[in-house]
């Protein structure tokens, strides 16, 4: 899958420009880390990429076609985890995933095994029959990740997927995403630099709606001549107010 962003711009009603003239190309297989301070435009960019928002100007091409031209096909190859989301609290984990499998048009005969797979990889086996309202915040986050993984989508867009998870779970999911990115495109928005450093092969630093850096984490460290990605990121952000 190849996603091209051409002069993408998004301005909200109040006049705030969330994304300013962004152009870049993302292609699978890759695990792309999208970082930036709060309000940098990460979530807006994610929503633009999932078709939940339309750009004010510019365009997004998916394999050469405008994103919404083949909406149905695009959605069938997309797994999305928003930063904030609600689930149907009266369903069990398994029922919810079954519901999502139906929405994603996963065939009935493969749906069960697919649900088993995502439950296993998100470590929800013991919560399979539990109502979602009884799950903790972290467990609900895992259900969110599980639904995004359903159907092995070619494109995974994850907005702060490890928020609310304990350190061990975070490592586990980081590894899961790295493994999954071997044959698909994963775009991971996060403010946890650690997540990006160890797993991403491409880093995009976004600030005030503009791209401040595109490259590998090593390239950023090299550019800023520091040994950790966190320091490189801090150095990149330093003095940005005066720019």
């Amino acid at each position: 899958m190849r996603i091209e962003l051409k002069h993408l711009q998004k301005k909200y009603k109040g006049g705030k420009t969330a994304v300013k003239d962004i152009s870049l190309t993302l292609a699978s297989p890759s695990l792309v880390g999208l970082v930036g301070p709060n309000g940098a435009g990460k979530s807006t960019l994610m929503k633009l990429l999932t078709g939940n928002l339309l750009p004010g100007s510019g365009e997004i091409l998916v394999d050469g076609q405008p994103l919404l031209k083949n909406e149905k096909q695009f959605k069938s190859s997309l797994g999305y985890l928003p930063q904030e989301f609600g689930l149907f609290e009266d369903l069990t984990t398994e029922e919810f995933l079954d519901y999502m499998a139906a929405l994603k048009c996963i065939e009935r005969r493969t749906a069960k095994s697919e649900i088993d797979r995502v439950i296993t990889v998100t470590h929800l086996e013991d919560k399979r029959k539990a109502k979602i309202r009884t799950l903790s915040g972290g467990q609900k986050q895992r259900v969110g990740i599980a639904q995004a993984l359903l159907g092995e989508p070619k494109l995974l867009i994850l907005d702060e997927p490890t928020a609310g998870l304990d350190p061990a779970e975070r490592v586990s999911f980081r590894n899961l995403f790295a493994e999954a990115a071997r044959n698909r495109l994963i775009i991971l928005s996060t403010h946890i630099i650690e997540d990006v450093q160890s797993a991403c092969d491409m880093l995009i630093v976004l600030d005030r709606g503009e791209i401040r850096f595109t490259g590998t984490p090593d390239e950023l460290m090299k550019m800023k001549n520091v040994s950790s990605l966190e320091n490189a990121y801090m150095a990149l952000m330093e003095g940005r107010d005066s720019e």
């Binding site: 339309l54 919404l68 029922e95």
Partner: protein, 738 residues
């Protein structure tokens, strides 16, 4: 297949939610409560229809709320962010709506588990599956479906739960308010409980079901229009209302569906097939009551005809009624005299649903031109006649009855497989010309073999069969406008009373009730009593007591027939009545019989100064009979106390105590206010004045003697208040209640 699978998951999801189950449980509990505590004029109303209507209000309210919760929660909790990225947003809104409709269907089915056996047990042999299905599926379920469509439509349209809540609360309460005010002028608009009521236990309810079907069709189309408008406006991709509208409408089926549903809504409103475009009746000089009972108003002069130069000398008809198609077709032949021999215009009146298909005048084809619709479902036609002294005119006509759209929009006339009621101008076209005293009127009627006809005036003899139908031969009087034809499965009981051949014609299904009530003996006793007290009825040797469907609500007397609705024959205590003083039973029966003496044989004429009318003296006569028949206690409780109670209300009414304020109001307001007192004046105050007259004259017998003299001396004539005072020798002051 994929769509069905997604829908089935959506339904399962919805039905697994606690809030859905809670709302369904509340509605079901309400339905049980309403069923057990129902009341009404018939068993069908009390145990089935009214329960469904009340449940429809509760159900519409809760399903509107449930829909709002479902739609708004997915937005507020960002559930949409996951769902709408995984599926087509428009298809998802459609599935959500359909799932809610399925929940409504499940609720109806669950309620039926109780309501069906309960209704069957309580109504017993009167249970009609069509009534049950109409009540719980056409009224109740449809109200829930409309609530879902309207709420989801308005939510998608406005994008605000607050605005949607206000709109829906307004729509539900407005419908309820209008229904409770009995403002029936636009029955199509009452989308929650509808104007359904007075369902019959003993004959088909086809007429009410017709109204409900059209009401539901119109409401469905309007709801679908609003829902589709909402679907067009569903906010997507962070766009505003107009951009989303443009984007959603790029799917051609959505604007096509919207346009179709809006056009069809308009068409269904404009082409409403039950009521016509009758002019409102001009009530000036007449009396309007708030009682729902018919006030017999005597017209002092013979009504003028539109063309007095023409005279009808003979009228014959051949009428074929199709209960299957619910239409009629016929041929009527008229013989006319034209004194001047000059060309004439023949004024013809038909029911608004009847079309004149062809006209032949003296063997030459003529033409009927339809003019303006008049009052009371009368279509006015004109036929130009060439110069001639005599005419033989043959008119072929056909159509389906239409009903008066003014007043309370009640279906009175129509054809169904179980019941027929046709007005005079629905049986044959009526010529608005002079009628010769020797004019003969006869005809043939072809009718479904299980139905027996009854003409309000005239005689009918059963003939052979033709085209698989029974032929009935009719002879009667052509100048009687109230010649209505009724047909049903009747049972007839004949007996002698007051020197008359009396017959009681009642619906076959009411046989046991009529027997249990000993109705024939009550009627005989009443006729004998009035004959003995006032004098015999001279105008006919026959008197028929005819049973009418519940929807007529009351009774009437016309010709040698006194008609009462079916509730008269319900065993006491069987149906929980809406009001302890709602009338019915023996009282209405005797009242309509008494009208034969006061209203038919003589015509006590209403004026605008006194409370005198045929109603007052008829109520008094009913009271006198029942005092003898059922005893003092009965009439004290059901008559005197009631009359005195209403007299207190009347004399303490603001505008009666302060008539000076009426001067500040418009004529229309004054007319409405004073009109609202007419029922009390006629039915309560005048009878109380008669009681006072009794006291003044020395008792019941003394007054009745005077009334008998009045009756015998005014046979076939008008009786004014002054006539009454002169006959009794009393003054206005002597019987005044002040």
């Amino acid at each position: 297949m994929i769509g069905a699978r997604k829908l089935s998951h959506e339904i399962r999801r919805l039905l697994s939610e606690r809030i859905t189950l809670l709302f369904m449980a509340i509605i079901a509990t309400g339905a049980v409560w309403y069923s057990i505590n129902g009341s009404g004029r018939t068993a069908s109303d009390a145990f089935i229809v009214n329960a469904a209507k009340n449940s429809a209000f509760l159900g519409a309210l809760l399903f509107a709320l449930l829909t709002l919760l479902q739609f708004h929660r997915d937005f507020r909790h960002n559930t949409n962010d996951i769902i709408l990225t995984s599926t087509d947003p428009i298809h998802h809104q459609v599935r959500k709506t359909l799932a809610l409709i399925c929940a409504a269907i499940v609720t109806s089915l669950l309620i039926s588990l109780f309501a069906l056996p309960y209704g069957m047990v309580k109504t017993g042999s009167y249970f009609q599956p069509a009534t049950f299905l109409t009540a719980w599926y056409l009224i109740f379920l449809a109200a829930l479906v409309f609530a879902v469509l309207l709420t989801s439509g308005f939510y998608m349209l406005t994008g605000h739960w607050e605005t949607t809540s206000v709109i829906m609360a307004g729509l539900i309460l407005l419908s309820k308010l209008l229904e409770s005010m009995h403002a029936n002028s636009e029955y199509l608009l009452y989308w929650v409980q509808t104007t359904a009521g007075n369902f019959s236990d003993v004959i088909t309810n086809r007429f009410q079901i017709d109204m409900l079907l059209w009401n539901r069709l119109f409401c469905l189309l309007v709801s679908l229009s609003i829902w589709t408008l909402g679907l067009c406006s569903f906010r997507r991709c962070g766009l505003g209302l107009f951009s989303s509208f443009r984007m959603n409408c790029s799917r051609l089926w959505i604007p096509l569906f919207l346009t179709s549903s809006i056009i069809l809504s308009g068409v269904s409103y404009a082409c409403e097939p039950i009521f016509d475009d009758s002019k409102p009746i001009d009530y000036s000089g007449m009396i309007k009551t708030d009682t729902g009972e018919t006030v017999i108003t005597v017209v002092a002069d013979t009504p003028e005809v539109a063309n007095p130069e023409l005279m009808l000398t003979e009228k014959a008809f051949d009428l074929d009624v199709s209960t299957k198609k619910r239409t009629l077709s016929g041929t009527a032949e008229y013989r006319l005299m034209n004194g001047s021999g000059k060309a004439q215009t023949l004024p013809v009146q038909t029911n608004t649903g009847i079309n004149i298909d062809s006209v032949v005048i003296n063997g030459i084809e003529g033409k009927a031109t339809r003019g303006e619709t008049g009052e009371n479902s009368t279509a006015n036609w004109r036929i130009e006649l060439p110069s001639a002294y005599e005419y033989v005119i043959r008119i072929c006509y056909s159509g389906r009855m239409l009903n008066n759209n003014t007043s309370d929009q009640r279906v009175t006339y129509g054809i169904s497989d179980g019941y027929i009621w046709l007005p005079a101008d629905g049986i044959t076209p009526h010529l608005d010309i002079s009628v010769s005293d020797e004019c003969s009127f006869y005809g043939n009627l072809l009718l479904n073999e299980k139905l027996e006809p009854f003409f309000l005036h005239g005689n009918t003899i059963k003939g052979g069969t033709r085209n698989g139908k029974t032929q009935w031969q009719y002879t009667g009087s052509p100048d009687a406008m109230g010649i209505s034809l009724f047909a049903a499965e009747y049972m007839t009981e004949t007996f002698e009373a007051g020197g008359l051949n009396a017959e009681l014609k009642y619906f076959a299904k009411h046989e046991s009730s009529v027997r249990d009530m000993d109705a024939a003996n009550v009627i005989k006793a009443a006729i004998d009593y009035f004959t003995e007290v006032y004098g015999p009825l001279f105008y006919d040797k026959h008197l028929t007591i005819l049973e009418l469907p519940a929807y007529f609500s009351g009774g009437f007397a016309g010709g040698s027939t006194s008609a009462v609705d079916e509730t008269v024959f319900s065993p006491k205590g069987y149906i929980p009545a809406e009001s302890p003083h709602s009338g019915g039973g023996i009282d209405v029966l005797v009242h309509e019989i008494a009208h034969q003496w006061w209203g038919i044989a003589t015509m006590p004429v209403q004026d605008n100064t006194s409370f005198w009318s045929s109603e007052g003296i008829t109520c008094y006569s009913t009271y006198c009979f029942l005092k003898e028949y059922l005893g003092e206690d009965y009439v004290q409780e059901n008559y005197i106390n009631e009359w005195q109670h209403n007299w207190e209300i009347y004399k303490n009414a603001f505008y009666i105590q302060h008539p000076e304020y009426l001067e500040k109001l418009s004529d229309k307001d004054v007319s409405n206010i004073m009109g609202s007192f007419q029922g009390m004046k006629l039915y309560n105050i005048m009878p109380l004045m008669m009681l006072k007259a009794e006291d003044a004259l020395g008792g019941t017998e003394a007054l009745q003697k005077k009334l008998s003299e009045l009756y015998m001396s005014h046979m076939g004539q008008l009786i004014t208040y002054d006539d009454f005072l002169a006959a009794t020798g009393l003054t206005e002051e002597a019987i005044s209640l002040e």
